[in-house]
């Protein structure tokens, strides 16, 4: 197995930690960006498409409606004018001029004509020279001659004439309808003035909201009615002539800065031409008011769009954070596994190294021992040495030999450690074995102020087992026991062995006076990767391997603990492990 280079993947390293955080920030931003692009852009396109289509659609609808209103209204006005003209024609054709000259008759006819609504202000019969022959009305016009007036000239040529608004002799804006009758070589004219107020109210009877304005103007742009907001009858119409064409149409008028009336900067204007007289019916409304409903709908759609965007954004943030967390966790798990692999690799190499070293050391040790023994022989045979000197020399040699023995024990342990990866079945003398393990851990324990207390039942029979696996198990347990004392100045690790004849095996207890395990953690201590140690100090695999190992050899492990007082592990090992225990070991080790 390859041993990776010394990689310190500890995340306690500040530089690496920062890099790690940066990496996740970048990833987070990238994810958010992509998610938003993928969701916001389509939403936008669809939203915009629908908005644009609907806007256009609704604009057209509104303008059509507007235009229809105008057309319809024109028809009403034209109908009115036609009816009034018909009224006059009926009168002049059904009554002789003589009877019309009669003031009383004329008055009666006048009142009938005005029954229901006072359409007419006055009524008069005029001869072909322009003289009033008879007159019913509020003005003093009997002595007036109209031969020079426009309307007179027009009606004499056209037979029927509707005039524009004019002041006339009465000096008040009005318009007249005049019809003629020809009797032989004489012409008679019946002329009536339309009630200006009534006419105005007729014209303005269009529901156009708060900003709507209706008026009539002639070809010269002179107002024929008084608009609601701007202008006066017979004055100049508010909108410039250039705006209008000879056709009926609808358009948008934007007033420029020179316009005195800046009340409505932008207006929807629809106009249509009456035939007779050639008047322009103009209906206009503030653009904003005209399209208010559509605009409101659009605004609502826009708000909905923005709201959706907000929701998408929030959900994206949440989901992305969640995904990043998942990635982080997976990375952490992978890191843990990698660490464990590196560790295993290190141990494997260390194992091989140990074997080589131990072997190499054994030879020099053997030589030292023989040299010492040769020296003993020499001392025995030496004649020139006194007893004191001999004794001292022998004493030193004894010391040398015992140190050699000590080295030998260390190499023994190293070699046993090195055989971890090879499945072994040996007869294991449990007590001796445990004492060896304790010896290995002695240094660490002493350094922490921990004492070992042994209670090993005498003469426990040897039984077949894998010493390297068992070593791993007990080193792990003793390590944990020692580490549990962190922060305490001293402590005890008690190790006991007892035969369990009932279950035909041996029970081993490993107890400590450490910090104990909390009830919540008790359930999890045998879980892989579970550790209460700081990051980098424990991989969390020790107890889970211990558990699997013991189970694999047919044993059992349980734990009792009190927070603050200590912990005790109870391990049972059978004297005769199950037959398949040998095969299981390979799985356990890898």
């Amino acid at each position: 197995m390859e041993l990776k280079q010394e990689i310190d993947v500890s995340t306690k390293h500040p530089h690496l930690e920062k890099k790690g955080k940066e990496r996740y920030s970048k990833l987070y931003r990238k994810f958010i960006f992509l998610t938003l692009i993928c969701s916001v852009v389509p939403l936008f396109l669809v939203g915009w498409g629908i908005y644009a289509y609907y806007s256009g659609f609704s604009n057209i609808r509104i303008m059509d409606y507007f235009k229809n209103q105008v057309d319809h209204h024109r028809e009403i006005i034209e109908l009115f004018l036609r009816e009034r003209t018909s009224d006059l024609q009926l009168v002049i054709l059904t009554h002789s001029p003589d009877s019309l000259q009669n003031q009383g008759n004329l008055r009666r006819i006048f009142s009938v004509m005005n029954q229901g609504h006072s359409f007419f202000t006055d009524l008069g019969l005029i001869d072909d020279e322009g003289n009033h022959l008879a007159y019913i009305g509020p003005y003093d016009l009997m002595d007036k001659n109209y031969s020079n007036t426009v309307w007179f000239k027009e009606v004499m040529t056209k037979g029927i004439y509707i005039s524009d608004m004019f002041a006339g002799f009465r000096n008040a804006p009005h318009f007249v309808i005049a019809v003629t009758r020809i009797d032989g070589n004489r012409k008679w004219i019946l002329r009536a003035s339309i009630d200006t107020e009534y006419f105005r109210s007729l014209v303005e009877d269009v529901k156009m909201g708060a900003t709507g304005e209706v008026y009539l103007s002639n070809q010269e742009g002179i107002l024929q009615t008084t608009p609601r907001f701007s202008g006066k009858i017979m004055g100049k119409a508010p909108l410039p002539l250039e705006f209008f064409s000879e056709e009926s149409s609808i358009g948008i008028y934007e007033s420029d800065s020179s316009d005195p009336d800046k009340r409505f900067p932008r207006q929807l204007v629809a106009y249509t031409w009456l035939e007779n007289p050639r008047w322009k019916l103009v209906v206009k409304q503030d653009y904003a008011e005209a399209f208010r409903d559509a605009n409101q709908a659009n605004r609502a759609a826009l708000i909905f769009l923005l709201f959706s965007l907000m929701i998408i954004l929030v959900i994206s943030l949440i989901i992305t954070r969640h995904m990043i967390d998942i990635i982080k966790k997976q990375d952490k798990d992978t890191d843990s596994l990698n660490k464990q692999l590196v560790q295993a690799g290190k141990l494997a190499s260390l194992g091989e190294l140990s074997a080589g070293v131990a072997h190499e050391i054994n030879n020099p040790l053997a030589i030292i021992l023989t040299e010492s023994q040769v020296m003993r022989d020499t001392i025995d045979e030496a004649t020139g040495l006194n007893d004191e000197v001999k004794a001292e020399l022998i004493d030193s040699l004894s010391q040398t030999e015992s140190q050699v023995h000590r080295c030998s024990l260390i190499t023994q342990s190293l070699l046993k450690f090195s055989r971890r990866n090879k499945s072994q079945r040996e007869m294991v003398n449990l007590n001796v074995f445990l004492e060896e393990v304790i010896r290995l851990m002695d240094g660490k324990a002493k350094g922490m102020g921990i004492q070992f207390v042994l209670d090993l039942e005498k003469d426990i029979p040897s039984f077949p087992s894998d010493p390297s696996l068992l070593q791993q198990v007990f080193i792990n347990l003793i390590n944990n026991a020692a580490d549990a004392h962190e922060g305490k100045p001293y402590g005890t690790i008690s190790i006991g062995t007892r035969t369990d004849s009932h279950r035909h095996g041996v029970e081993i207890t490993v107890g400590d006076t450490g910090s104990g395990i909390s009830p919540e953690n008790m359930e999890k201590i045998f879980d892989p990767f579970f550790t209460t140690k700081a990051v980098g100090k424990g991989t969390g695999l020790g107890l889970s391997i211990t558990y699997s190992t013991i189970k694999a050899v047919g044993g059992d492990i349980s734990v009792r603990s009190t927070i603050g007082k200590g912990t005790q592990f109870n391990i049972f090992l059978p004297f005769s492990p199950p037959d398949n225990a040998h095969e299981n070991r390979e799985e356990v080790i890898t």
Binding site: A355, L365, A366, T370, Q373, E401, L415
Partner: protein, 129 residues
């Protein structure tokens, strides 16, 4: 009394020479060979009672040497010396007919005791013919 004849086979020169000294003083006739091939050939020439054989040798290792020796002199008792790493070879050696094995570093007293036991058995075997 006849001095037991020992053949000592070990590639570690200093070690072998020391053992030679020590065992000679303790009443054994010792011949030393430093490799397996030489040991096998000397077994053919001379007679030995006990052979002390180191397992880990370059060239012809302990097991191969043991096999050859047993072919040539089946009655000779072999005591195997092994480092702690090669217990397996010790066991294997015993399966091939070695008397017993000892772990290095070995105390001279332990070695001597083992050699005596081996010699005693050889004598017994020899008497049986």
């Amino acid at each position: 009394m006849k001095r037991p004849r020992i053949l000592l086979v070990d590639d570690e020169v200093a070690f072998a020479n020391n053992l030679l000294k020590l065992l000679s003083k303790r009443g054994y006739d010792v011949v030393v060979e430093y490799n397996g091939a030489d040991a096998v050939s000397v077994v053919g020439d001379k007679e030995f009672d006990v052979i002390i054989l180191d397992m880990k040798m370059p060239g012809m290792d302990g097991i191969a040497t043991l096999k050859e020796i047993k072919k040539k002199a089946p009655l000779v008792e072999v005591v195997i010396l092994t480092g702690h790493g090669s217990i397996e070879s010790g066991i294997e050696g015993m399966q091939l007919g070695a008397f017993d094995f000892l772990m290095k570093p070995v105390r001279i007293d332990d070695l001597q005791e083992k050699v005596s036991e081996a010699y005693r058995r050889k004598l017994v075997q020899g008497e049986r013919g």
